[in-house]
């Protein structure tokens, strides 16, 4: 019986392929190596979005080709070249981090193939490029959100910033925050440099305790941020702590335990308050498929790179025309994505809202939405 069904499906599949064109879309993601965890959740979104919407309006099917870049630049370059010259993809989704995405864009831009980045927030990523796009906000926007929220809503005037020298994300966000915080009348009393992989922050936190700032801004990823939170509590340092989307995951709460209670961070969206109809549907489908409805932001943004692309392709008379796709991506206005409403600009940057969450009783709880 089962065999029969399989046979029937394959026949049906064959039939569709026969009439409609197949258009290839590439994805470059770190599925192994040090960034694998992030790459996997992001690709989960792309893959799931493809499953929901595998065909275009005109009946053409989309074939998704994933290349693992191991989080490595050489592999990213080879993979991107392969996707463009050998697989002939019309667009590329990826490649997670800002450094690797920059590598993908450098190659794709020359070949006039649009790239949509999911979570690469570095400001310069899309500058001086024609075919670079992203669905996430930029570092400057996120930095401003945190600075304004701290100054105006929480009334915090002095800050210590801890920056991870080894992470592009951390450097960019720290810089943007400092600029916005100073502009708003706040004072950065100290900037402390750390390196990812560090575990012992006892010296750092005792220094901060002596300085006694109003709050701490930690534009870090979860391993370092959680350790700092723990060691702060150990020495009785209980100033408010704020991070960016780098800690927006359950692992952060697991690692931090009780010490991250009250910890605030910015995120792209919140699954408990779906911003659009599309996110409601997506979360429902996702829950049905995986049995969990806690949709990770990275998964949502991964899905949005795909949906935004399909939306742009549908508006092109020839959906395999990369130049038209690029133009249409940049022309997307009021696009209802899984992670929220996205407005694209000419530079390829997304104007979108951010949400602020606070960790309460071991859960990230939605606090407010900040619109641009």
């Amino acid at each position: 019986m089962r065999k029969l069904t399989t046979l029937a499906t394959s026949v049906a599949l064959l039939a569709t392929v026969a009439v409609a064109k197949e258009i290839k879309v590439g994805a470059v993601m770190p599925m192994s190596g040090p960034l694998a965890a992030y790459g996997q959740v992001t690709y989960e979104g792309i893959e799931f979005a493809h499953k929901i919407q595998p065909t275009l309006k005109n009946g053409d099917t989309i074939k998704l080709i994933l290349l693992d870049n191991k989080g490595d630049k050489v592999e990213t370059a080879t993979g991107t070249t392969r996707l463009i010259s050998s697989d002939k993809v019309v667009a590329i989704l990826g490649a997670l981090t800002s450094t690797n995405t920059a590598q993908t864009i450098a190659i794709a831009d020359k070949k006039k193939i649009p790239v949509i980045a999911s979570v690469a927030t570095n400001d310069k990523l899309t500058m001086k490029r024609t075919f670079a796009n992203r669905v996430c906000f930029t570092d400057s926007f996120q930095g401003e959100v945190v600075a304004n929220y701290a100054l105006k809503d929480l009334g915090l005037k002095t800050a210590v910033v801890i920056v991870d020298q080894a992470q592009v994300y951390s450097l960019g966000l720290a810089k943007a925050f400092q600029k916005a915080f100073k502009k708003g009348g706040g004072k950065i009393v100290k900037k402390i440099k750390i390196t990812s992989g560090d575990k012992d922050f006892k010296a750092v936190v005792s220094q901060i305790k002596r300085i006694n700032p109003d709050f701490m801004f930690l534009p870090l990823y979860h391993p370092e941020a959680s350790m700092i939170a723990r060691q702060s509590k150990q020495i009785g340092l209980s100033k408010p702590m704020f991070s960016g989307d780098g800690v927006a995951n359950q692992t952060f709460i697991d690692l931090g335990g009780k010490s991250v209670e009250g910890y605030m961070f910015t995120d792209f969206f919140d699954y408990s308050a779906p911003p659009t109809q599309k996110s409601k549907d997506f979360i429902a489908a996702y829950a049905k498929e995986t049995g969990k409805n806690e949709l990770n932001s990275f998964t949502a943004l991964g899905a949005d790179t795909y949906f935004l692309l399909v939306d742009a392709m549908n508006r092109c008379s020839d959906p395999s025309d990369s130049i038209c796709i690029n133009k249409e991506i940049k022309a997307s206005k009021g696009f209802e994505g899984v992670s929220g409403v996205i407005n694209m600009d000419k530079a390829g940057n997304a104007t979108r809202s951010a949400v602020i969450k606070v960790i309460t009783n071991g859960k990230a709880v939605y606090k407010t939405t900040v619109n641009p």
């Binding site: 960034l35 402390i192 575990k199 220094q207």
Partner: protein, 298 residues
């Protein structure tokens, strides 16, 4: 930089140094009997930490039982690597042995990465370990007090084994001259296996301490710690157990003190161990305890 703070950093450095020391002992002992830099040693530590994690988080064992599981598991893994990967190469050129060691190290890191993923997992630290003691302004957790105490106890035990037991004598003899040991009717391979077992057991304890102090475990955690522990072994005088402990403390203290008092150089924290290593090689290649290379190692 007052007295109180200095004492505080001293306490921190003591705890960090102990962990390096525990791992350095394994390097030094294996080097003593095989003249091999066992690159996989840091990863054995990682496996130890993971076993502790599984014992507590998955099997729900109490802390002490989880430690025991980690120690036994790591010791067996250490002995297994010797039997499978190093023993067949006893007569091979040394480079083959070193390449195999790197291979084992890479294998352990990546098989754990494939099986359990690269994300850090939260280590379930027992509540009492995180209890905070405030001794006149010097703040530390129960764990950071326990780490050096247990380390010194284990050190005493190792020294007792080395100097007061038959096996210890065989280990010291092996470091001195392999051929003679064989002629005396001692099974050198058995002794080497015991050395691997002991070193790996200590590494497991070090790994668990690490996970208790900084509650997260991940497949790559052993790489840098292992490298620094090796540097500690050389600084202390490779081949000497006491030297490994001294080297571990030196490296632990340097890291803590530099980060605390020269924060602008904090980014270079991981480089200190190597700078020390290179300085020692330049000026006193036999390390602090100054053991002559061609004579006894313990």
């Amino acid at each position: 930089m007052d007295f109180l703070e200095f004492t505080q950093q001293l306490v921190n450095g003591f705890s960090l140094g102990s962990m390096y020391a525990l791992i350095a002992i394994g390097y030094t002992m294996v080097y003593g009997v095989l003249r091999l830099i066992n690159f996989a040693h840091g990863d054995i530590m990682m496996v130890g930490a993971f076993l502790g994690y599984f014992g507590m988080a998955v099997l729900g064992l109490p802390f002490v039982a989880a430690v025991l599981l980690a120690v036994v598991g790591s010791a067996s893994l250490g002995m297994l690597t010797d039997k499978v990967a190093y023993k067949p190469l006893r007569d091979a050129p040394k480079i083959s042995l070193l390449i195999t060691a790197i291979g084992i190290s890479f294998f352990l890191e990546n098989i754990f990465n494939v099986l359990f993923g690269g994300t850090s997992r939260a280590f379930p630290v027992p509540e009492y370990m995180e209890y905070i003691i405030n001794a006149g302004g010097i703040i530390f957790t129960v764990a950071s007090l326990m780490v050096p105490i247990v380390t010194l106890m284990l050190l005493a035990m190792i020294l007792w084994v080395l100097y007061k037991t038959k096996y210890g004598m065989a280990i010291r003899a092996l470091a001195f001259d392999v051929n003679t040991v064989n002629l005396m009717g001692i099974d050198a391979n058995r002794i080497i296996m015991i050395v691997f077992g002991m070193g790996s057991a200590l590494a497991a304890v070090g790994g668990i301490f690490w996970a208790v102090s900084y509650p997260s475990v991940e497949p790559m955690m052993g790489v840098l710690i292992g490298l620094k522990a090796f540097a500690a072994a050389v600084v202390g005088g490779i081949g000497s157990v006491g030297g490994a402990v001294i080297g571990g403390f030196i490296i632990g203290f340097t890291e803590v003190v530099v980060v605390a008092f020269l924060p602008e150089y904090g980014g270079y924290k991981d480089a200190f161990a190597f700078v020390l290593l290179i300085l020692v090689l330049l000026f006193k290649p036999t390390g602090i305890l100054g053991i002559n290379f061609d004579k006894s190692r313990f």
